[in-house]
Symmetry: C2
Subunit: 441 residues, 2 copies
Amino acid sequence: MALDHTHDPAARSWLASAQAGGCDFPIQNLPFAEFRLAGTQEAFRGGVAIGDQVVDLAALAAAGTLDGPALQAARACAQPVLNDFFALGPAAWRALRHALFAALNEDAPAADADAVRACLRPQAAIEFALPARVGDYTDFYTSIDHALNIGRLLKPDDPITPNFQWIPIAYHGRVSTLGVSGQAFHRPMGQTLAPGAKAPSYGPCARLDYELELGIYIGRGNAAGEAIPLERAEDHVFGICLLNDWSARDIQFWEMAPLGPFLAKNFATTVSPWIVTMDALAPYRSAWTRPAEHPQPLPYLDSQGNREHGAIDIRLEVWLESQRDRDEADGPTRLSGTSFRHQYWSIAQMVAHHTAGGCSLNPGDLFGSGTISGPGPGEAGAMIELTRGGQAPIALANGESRGFLQDGDAVMLRGWCEKPGAARIGFGESRGTVLACRLPG
Amino acid sequence: MALDHTHDPAARSWLASAQAGGCDFPIQNLPFAEFRLAGTQEAFRGGVAIGDQVVDLAALAAAGTLDGPALQAARACAQPVLNDFFALGPAAWRALRHALFAALNEDAPAADADAVRACLRPQAAIEFALPARVGDYTDFYTSIDHALNIGRLLKPDDPITPNFQWIPIAYHGRVSTLGVSGQAFHRPMGQTLAPGAKAPSYGPCARLDYELELGIYIGRGNAAGEAIPLERAEDHVFGICLLNDWSARDIQFWEMAPLGPFLAKNFATTVSPWIVTMDALAPYRSAWTRPAEHPQPLPYLDSQGNREHGAIDIRLEVWLESQRDRDEADGPTRLSGTSFRHQYWSIAQMVAHHTAGGCSLNPGDLFGSGTISGPGPGEAGAMIELTRGGQAPIALANGESRGFLQDGDAVMLRGWCEKPGAARIGFGESRGTVLACRLPG
């Protein structure tokens, strides 16, 4: 978690928009995405956000101003997925970060600044793709407040399973329906069992929900049979995005015993386009703590480093914009807000556990953190928690209310880091929209 | 399920080994794999088995004797994965099948036979790769005898969940550790909770098991939000292989509530190299039946066609070869045998259910059928069933016994179809070997 000059809060870019108030992308951030000019058939290529612009890394790699590991890294980023860049490992990621920081800095030599300026494209004119070819997507379940909130609805006397405090619980998710921010999807159909009914029926989901999560991209993988030890786990993590694990609660509760959620989750998962690197997140690390009266981790999930700085204080919010909001030009409603620092298991523990049995990870694999709910009221990361299973609908700013999501609703996830003595850096947005159910024809 | 001349049991190839007794690969079969000459760095390419040979489809595509859709199909098969071939759809698959059948037939024009003969490579000299780039792997749970056998061990009074008879239950599995026959893997480590213990411990799996399954390759996919109706489901299926879903039972039972198996299954999954096409399986179709006293499928999972020929009579066996068997040149032991025709849900029902909520499938996606256990004694597809959770070890032919798998054990799955009035066709073998646990260092 060592800090270097790229974390200096006083650093400034020659690009004025990077210093704008509330900007997610100052020079201390430099997140990666795959983009092209919107509405074209250009090839997608890697880019790095700065202010309201993106640095086209394919153009920069060809510009002749980079060399060594930074050039090799930029060339890997010129491809339509970032997998080869991820596979290069932390030294290459850092070399490119440092080169971009130098060239974007207000103190940069004019020639370097000019070369990068020629590679800038306005963010307002671009569209995004998934940043990686995801080989496997794993969804964790690591917020104890989320687990308790859900468990109390279903089993008030026994809200969490005994393994929760021992295992960063996870299951494999669906890759084919991963989408980048802007994804719109039809309300799923499925089997549900109505209360008191003797037989299920098939129809549109009536309890559609979102889940506030972070997405974690694996940088370098491991060979099958070779576990990644906890103390080296973060060397295998490239960075973090926002992730919405859309969930059909009525389908979920009927289908999930004994093998877990399936159709309830596999119709859509929306990630934000920008990946904030672990390097950029270094200033916002915090201690990973476990209440003394709770079970403490087994040795393979415990280390001094993880206890000292395993957590990350990423502030998170969920916003809802209804069809009426758009029709009447009202603003969206903030549904909740919390921080990732409360999570019961850390990212390093997720990586160590995932590989502890011999499972291999590959560059570009994606983890979902699991729903992120904090301990306080208004900190829940899913609507089922906020509305107590739909029993206590929440009011929107425009006078509507919601027990679950309605057609036309857009859900936006936002995230950022800030603290005294450090810059504010942001994640941009993950936005997804619910379309009406597409009835079989 | 229409039969054509390629199903004529009297058809013979000019290649004598295709008519050998017990041969899995007569001219009526023609299964696909990805292969290269063993021990070389050649590119993998598609091949079709005939007798003890394989037709090199890259060579055949270049030979100049194919044309039209068969040539297009063979060219797609020249690649190191069959995904593009799968995406061409049933008419292209059938065109290539018919062209190969004609050229391999004893009545083939000499020029055509000579062209194919020049493309033959001996199976004894080749090695295999996974035949497709699997985007998503889904494991089903569709044998009621398996579910009852396992359920009675865990919950004798309530052995299966109420959804089992309504839903072809499934969960998402791990792609990164899929391996082709010959796969060897280290016994996994993991958390387990010993009987009566208050806290789990981390160590080598002590209850390592196999699961006899079939693997089902998706040929053509569907767009997200567009369900595949039951009556067209098999148009989206390319073919079937053998699949061993290795399972760590002690890890599984501690980790799997509430979100399903994870480390217990994701360390290795072994498939056979040859994919037997749905066309080749047409003669062995049988009625899909559901006892009248059981719940009948909801309309989206029910059709006259599925009831008439939804099942397939694929005979299956599990064999175990221990280290001592190899050391002393003893033969393996047959552990069990059954047929896929008993399965509670059909392949078409799996496809229809998987897409019923809006999930997209892609060419090369793989389904596991779930463990295949038949109704009789000796028909169980996993060791935990045969040994009643390890309580009743089974005797091997060499005098050893097994409650669960030991290091050095190789498990072989075999499958074939035969019936009066049809040829016997086989699946070859899926073989995997358990290596000693690799302790973290």
